[in-house]
Amino acid sequence: MKRSAISVILFFLGCSSSLPIPTASDLLEHSNNGDVVTVEELKEDRSLYIAKCSGCHGLYLPSQYSGKEWQTILPMMNEKSRLSETEAIRIKRYIFLYSMH
């Protein structure tokens, strides 16, 4: 029993965030779309997603839905959360980078 409990604790301590943290390789993929951004900007997009969306519901992983599904979901959420146009664009940029293709 003690071993099982220790295994569980070690499992949780060894975890990293499930929500992707942008890296240079993500930047390369994003620049293929013709948009020029920095890793820092993408990290800020991620922070914006956490700050604006987790206030109203549990966070979803971008990969839980396809890009097409996010196209339907995001406008509804923007309306509910009253995001500014810039905030909506930045959150969409982060979500689409990691959405299910």
Binding site: M1, A5, V8, F12, S17, S18, S54, C56, H57, L61
Partner: protein, 273 residues
């Protein structure tokens, strides 16, 4: 204590003063808790039904709870419960041979949950939980540490529970008060086939301490299925006892049917508004 309070009126009075908003806080396990909390202003009604049956003697028990949950602030939520428990059993208990006897008890509970870490944004989810219960035949305080983690379509949850319970009963016309300390742990893993449907397994261990020593212990494990939509969610868990390392009888050497049931089945239904 509750005899002097009109509980339904108190309950609905609390409902009326809570601000309105609609976001769900679905549970994917019947027993293991998750770290997520309702956002400020969101509210939800949960209906619990737990069927517990089978001991060394005739025993049936139905626990029912109606819970009103609401988000208080970012990362903090609270809830009020109305609880009823109906037991039907052999009046002689372990010394079977008595007649069938039934009893019903009522209680109210209040819980608070504070989320320290988010299971998606942070390395793992972490929350602290406290609950107090006061009823016609018991007083109970419970504290939990909840940890969970979402990995794509897999959700893993673990909680550690410490509980103090003081219950009263009548034996030969006199009130007898019993005190127990319980240590429980729940673990669950659920896989989502879609964003609505999930299935998995749950594991629970219950340990009862009386007078500082471990008196009873049992481990339960079984399947769980869940469904969640924008309006409702539901979770059904079957939890048979698989091992009773402490307090078992000669009837079932490795199972403890004196203190715990052969099987527990829990159905949670929730509506948010």
């Amino acid at each position: 204590m509750l005899r002097h309070v009109n509980v339904p009126i108190l309950f609905f009075a609390v409902l009326m003063i809570i601000p309105e908003f609609a976001v769900s806080n679905e549970r994917r396990f019947g027993y293991a808790y998750e770290s997520s909390v309702l956002p400020p202003g969101a509210r939800e009604i949960e209906i619990w039904n737990t069927d517990r049956r089978g001991r060394t003697y005739f025993y049936r028990r139905m626990d029912q709870r109606i819970e009103y949950e609401f988000g208080v602030s970012n990362n903090l939520m609270s809830a009020f419960y109305l609880n009823t428990t109906t037991r039907t059993r052999d009046s002689n208990g372990e010394n079977a041979g008595g007649s069938k006897s039934s009893s019903t008890s009522f209680a109210i509970s209040n819980e608070w949950k504070y989320k320290l870490m988010d299971r998606v944004a942070d390395p793992f989810g972490l929350a602290l939980y406290g609950e107090g219960t006061m009823g016609t035949d018991k007083f109970e305080i419970e504290a939990k540490i909840i940890a969970d983690k979402q990995l794509q379509n897999l959700l893993i949850a673990f909680d550690l529970v410490g509980e103090y319970e003081s219950s009263s009963d009548v034996v030969n016309g006199s009130e007898v008060i019993a005190e127990e300390y319980k240590v429980k742990a729940d673990a669950g893993a659920a896989f989502f086939f879609s964003n609505s449907f999930g299935t998995g397994i749950e594991l629970r261990t219950e340990n009862i301490f009386v007078g500082g020593s471990l008196q009873h212990s049992a481990i339960f494990a079984g399947p769980t299925v869940s469904y969640a939509s924008e309006e409702i969610w539901a979770t059904l868990t079957f939890l048979p006892q698989i091992y009773g390392p402490k307090g078992g009888t000669t009837v079932s050497k490795n199972l403890n049917f004196d203190e715990f049931e052969k099987i527990q089945i829990r159905l949670l239904l929730s509506f948010h508004f």
